[in-house]
């Protein structure tokens, strides 16, 4: 297992797409800093009476929200690039224990996404603090537990990507599923009448952060119905179900 982990780590590091994805997240953090700088300037220009009404979406939220999709794509590519190039044949010839290969991929992809997610959240927080300073702008309150959970959600998206990519064996198909879970389905769920929007919307990955951190969001498109423990279970299921199904499919199917 350690040999396979080391090899998968080497693979991830030597693929250009990994660096594009990490570069994409870094770019978003940079954009967030730019947004903080712009907002601080705008806030300064407002007459004091209107400053109280000035609100800015929490910047770590935005950074992690984008990182969710980018790392989801990284997870997809970790396996679908092997299917599309035929590399998977070589991979499974040198390690015929297929579930070991999937577990090793999950290990390295999950670790990279977790570190990336936490880094994106906290780097954005730091940049925002540095630039906005002590201006009391609405929405820029710090909640550390929430940012930690957002970083974990980035990892969850990467592992969903890996699981779905293994099941569908197609880059485009898997990215559609990941993007659907990320934002498309939550937006469509808003069309449901209550209580159905809240019931189903509470189960969306994006809803879990506020549910776990106990920070009910007013500006959320998601539901807020789950207690923290249930939300943790749902998050675990988002990891276990796609990867479990992927493990079974990978072990049973002939390698194309």
């Amino acid at each position: 297992m350690t040999d396979t982990l080391a090899a998968e780590w080497l693979k991830l590091r030597t693929a250009r797409s990994t660096w594009y994805c990490l570069g994409g997240v870094a770019l978003i953090v940079g954009l967030m800093a730019l947004l903080a700088w712009y907002s601080a300037g705008a806030w300064d220009g407002l007459p004091p009476a209107r400053r109280a009404a000035f609100a800015l979406t929490p910047l770590p939220d935005l950074a992690c929200w984008v990182a969710n999709l980018v790392m989801g794509v990284l997870g997809v590519l970790a396996i679908t690039s092997e299917y599309s190039t035929g590399m998977l044949r070589a991979t499974l010839m040198v390690v015929p224990r297929r579930r070991t290969v999937l577990a090793a991929k999950a290990g390295v992809v999950g670790a990279v996404a977790l570190v990336t997610g936490e880094a994106a959240g906290f780097a954005t927080l730091a940049a925002g603090r540095l630039i906005i300073g002590d201006r009391p702008i609405q929405g820029q309150e710090t909640h550390v537990g929430r940012i930690v959970t957002m970083g974990v959600l980035v990892m969850v998206f990467a592992l969903i990507g890996l699981g779905v990519g293994t099941l569908l064996r197609s880059t485009a198909g898997a990215i559609v599923v990941v993007a659907g879970l990320w934002h498309i389905v939550p937006v469509l769920l808003q069309l449901l009448p209550e209580p159905w929007h809240d019931r189903i919307g509470s189960l969306m990955p994006g809803a879990l952060v506020d549910e776990i951190a106990g920070t009910g969001g007013q500006h959320t498109i998601y539901g807020t119905g789950l207690p923290p423990a249930a939300a943790v279970m749902v998050m675990a299921a988002y990891i276990a179900v796609p990867l479990g199904a992927a493990g079974i499919a990978l072990a049973r199917r002939d390698v194309p």
């Binding site: 080497l10 590399m87 044949r89 070589a90 010839m93 015929p96 002939d254």
Partner: protein, 297 residues
């Protein structure tokens, strides 16, 4: 390979195939396109599950090998590499899984003649270079068993010759070498033994020499005293046919015995030519019934 069967839906790709590949020689694995050669190799390597039967390497299932690269090296197709990686990194990723160091990676790149482009991305490689990279991957673990599926595809004449010599030297080192091909002419120059399959079934498991002899068409003899020699040969047990130009087509006696017989009867002989069918023809005759995708004749 024992009673190996692989079915894809209704199509039977491999049908109760049994054979064994011996060490210290190059075994050619021959069959027309679609005969089941690649499928057989894929099952052996654990990439496809057999419908029935078993395929074992060194007496064990491939999936049970702890370090498969050290026992079996295989080239299935030249495509099995991520184009974005360099040749060196690609091999390093494979080697790491079986605890093979980077020194060995550099050594096999040297051996296959890719040392100069080890740091280049595989995406820019020609088919021939990819074949060499695939062979390098197969050699990484210094395995005793080597399998190559159509290794000469895409290689230039120099490359074809290189492969031929490489295969011969690998077998001379005591390794088991199996090469699949649909071209008899190639195997004739490289292989010692032949396993011929068609439509998933075993047609022949033989040596190159045996196959050539089996399809020998006798000896052509010319002499000024045709009837006399024909009588003498028939008396010695040969079957003799007089051909249109007066030559004798002799079966059942080898050229040495024919020469001795002629000398004993003091008949001057102008020509003695063994007429063996080319292996190509032998192969065509063997597989004529099993061509999956033949042109209409």
């Amino acid at each position: 390979m024992n009673e190996l069967t692989k079915r894809y839906g209704d199509a039977l790709a491999v049908d109760r195939l049994s054979f064994q590949v011996e060490p210290r020689c190059v075994t050619g694995f021959l069959g027309p396109n679609g005969a089941g050669k690649s499928t057989t190799m894929r099952v052996l390597l654990g990439l496809s599950a057999p419908t029935a039967g078993t395929a074992l390497v060194n007496g064990r299932r491939y999936g049970d090998l702890r370090f498969p690269m050290r026992e079996v090296g295989a080239l299935l197709d030249a495509g099995a590499a991520h184009g974005g990686r360099t040749a060196f990194d690609h091999l390093r990723c494979l080697a790491r899984t079986n605890r093979i160091g980077t020194a060995r990676v550099a050594a096999v790149l040297e051996q296959v003649g890719l040392a100069g482009v080890g740091r280049k991305r595989i995406g820019g490689f020609s088919l021939g270079m990819r074949q060499r990279l695939g062979i390098a991957a197969a050699l990484l673990g210094d395995p005793g068993v080597l399998m190559f599926d159509e290794p000469v595809n895409g290689l230039d004449p120099e490359g074809v010759r290189w492969i031929r010599e490489l295969m011969r030297s690998l077998a001379a080192e005591g390794r088991t070498v199996l090469i699949s091909s649909h071209l008899m002419s190639e195997m004739q120059l490289t292989a010692d033994r032949l396993v011929v399959i068609g439509r998933g079934r075993l047609i022949a498991d033989t040596t190159v020499r045996e196959l050539a002899e089996r399809f020998q068409r006798g000896v052509l003899v010319r002499t000024g005293r045709t009837p006399e020699l024909a009588r003498a040969l028939e008396a010695a047990g040969a079957s003799v046919v007089v051909e249109a130009d007066g030559a004798l087509a002799v079966k059942g006696l080898d050229p040495v015995r024919i020469g001795e017989l002629a000398a004993r009867h003091a008949i001057p002989v102008h020509e003695v030519t063994p007429r063996s069918a080319s292996l190509e023809e032998a192969y065509m005759a063997l597989t004529a019934d099993s061509v999956e995708y033949g042109a209409a004749r």
